[in-house]
Amino acid sequence: QQPVQSPQAVILREGEDAVINCSSSKALYSVHWYRQKHGEAPVFLMILLKGGEQKGHDKISASFNEKKQQSSLYLTASQLSYSGTYFCGTNNAGNMLTFGGGTRLMVKP
């Protein structure tokens, strides 16, 4: 079952913040976040393994609410380089990530 991401698209000015949400109808073992720039491969950002776990990478952080089967990605003080499509990937069982439909983020000067 594919996780659901929201919003589908976001337009920001440099320095603004954004939140991208990912929710699943099934219990989650882990949640991954990736960023894909146009014409390139998805690039791994971070992984969350435990309920309530929060991780950060520079000004990008994420949380994982295992009970609600949700994860959120927080982009703080966005930079032009943050533009791209963000995907969450969920691992319900087995060894395959199922990705959400993606959130297209555009950061303007």
Binding site: S30, H32, N91, G94, M96, G101, G102
Partner: protein, 116 residues
Amino acid sequence: DTAVSQTPKYLVTQMGNDKSIKCEQNLGHDTMYWYKQDSKKFLKIMFSYNNKELIINETVPNRFSPKSPDKAHLNLHINSLELGDSAVYFCASSKLGSHRGSYGYTFGSGTRLTVV
């Protein structure tokens, strides 16, 4: 020194043909994957493979088959290509780990397949 490399980068072929896409990783990972990304950017898992287990997404037509000559390679063979097979195909790899899904994936640069 590319971590996950795919060839070819572009592939244009006629309907009905059989084609293969090659993938190699030099990261020492034990699990490899194939994903299909359609025109709407939706990333769909096709296969997961390590030396012990092949997991096939049940929605993948049996015209698609993974072939792994060794741990560092997972090729994708497609028979009787159809127009709907046009997409970007990504190979990826990761460690398996004791906790499933506990390691990030490294993706190859993708193969853009166009069926005419």
